[in-house]
Symmetry: none
DNA sequence: CAGTCTTCTCAGCGTCGTCTCAGCGCCGGA
DNA sequence: TCCGGCGCTGAGACGACGCTGAGAAGACTG
């Protein structure tokens, strides 16, 4: 059934990764930046319940749609209380499944506008373009990834280890590399415009000012 | 039925506002900062479909759970495509309704970590920002950690050894360092505003007044 | 294969935060 | 009223933190 779903969803234009048991699925959900997870309760090795529970315990809020053969209402309630965002009982209609997936993704898309903005600083992830005061700014891939991450978390203080984990995808690298790249970014998006969007919070990390500095 | 739901949800601890037709509901949803909206499709004056559509058109992303007497699957798909976050068909189980409301609210809460408040003093752990009377206050990491701990235990008397254990992560340090840092904090969040939130309880420890002093 | 761009390391330096210490004042008890 | 202990504070030493320029190594391009 999973393979059939994968084919159907791919035909609709979704990019689909398939995991064959709970542990594989958990691993994939941790790694990939998915728009939505479809999770069957009956899985080998690790049940869907536990995958969901584990992800939420790790503060991973990726939207989850649970599938189950059980149809008692308390099972549904349990699934939702574990942190699933929606629940479908087998046999389910394919049309409903797709509509709910779209709803889950749109919900997230509503919160994540296509172009990230902070004052007069804007970044378009799809087009890989950054502008300040309407002027295009050229960034290297690493600089771009760093700025994108900071802009997605604008106004929050982000620690160097969080940055290393999400932008460099490592955790035991010398944090100095972050300082170096923050320096590069400042010379490109702040200094030429006399601004101060990239703020240092000594002992805590960095914050990108939501108003662009 | 709406009144019955209101009583039931209030019994569960929710604060519930009730609107008797679509226009009234739309007006309320625009004004209030609701955690979630329960929306019946069949409403006098303005249908639930249109309320939902209108809210989304105004970029209002409050979570919406739709209720309907219709049970064709295409209706459900339509509702979700209009921007609702979930959909329930009458007759529905009360248990399921509550579980889904909780899921919708939890989802949103996960994205917005709590802000600690004590009177006109507020501390935002994620943004690492402290404000008094609306003025931003700059704190060093140690000062911030100390204030955060005291605010999490507002109105309690906290001993110096507890503070050392949780803020300094040691137990055999000279407690004088706590006195020093309480002094620093007072100069930043109390003295400039003529307040007294950080109270000394001689022989026992310190208490942060829940009303901000 | 040369030239350029990008990434990352390293060491030096200035600044800021942390903590210690000693003296003093205040509070409560006898 | 005197005394002892508790808490407060200013000064200062020390260390950690973050920034920067220089440059090496690797990747990409024509």
């Amino acid at each position: 059934m999973a393979a059939a779903l994968q084919r159907g969803l791919q035909a609709e234009g979704f990019a689909v990764d398939l995991a064959h048991d709970g542990e594989e699925g958990l691993y994939a959900a941790r790694q990939g930046d998915y728009d939505v997870v479809v999770l069957d309760i009956m899985l080998p090795r690790l049940s869907g319940y536990n995958v969901c529970k584990q992800l939420r315990a790790e503060e991973n809020w990726v939207p989850i749609l649970m599938l189950s053969a059980k149809d008692g209402e308390y099972d549904m309630a349990d699934g939702l209380d574990l942190g699933a965002d929606d629940y479908l009982t087998k046999p389910f209609s394919y049309v409903v499944l797709v509509a709910r997936l779209r709803a889950l993704m749109r919900r997230d898309a509503g919160r994540r506008p296509a172009v990230l903005v902070a004052g007069d600083l804007s970044l378009d992830p799809a087009r890989r373009k950054v502008e300040r005061e309407g002027n295009a700014v050229e960034l290297t891939p690493r600089e771009f990834a760093l700025l994108e991450y900071l802009m997605r978390r604008r106004d929050e203080v982000v620690s160097k280890s969080e940055i290393l984990e999400h932008v460099w995808d490592t955790f035991d690298t010398d944090p100095n590399v972050v300082e170096v790249y923050v320096g590069y970014l400042r010379r490109k998006i702040d200094a030429p415009f006399g601004r101060n969007a990239l703020q240092t919070v000594r002992g805590a990390g960095y914050r990108l000012a939501g108003d662009g500095g």
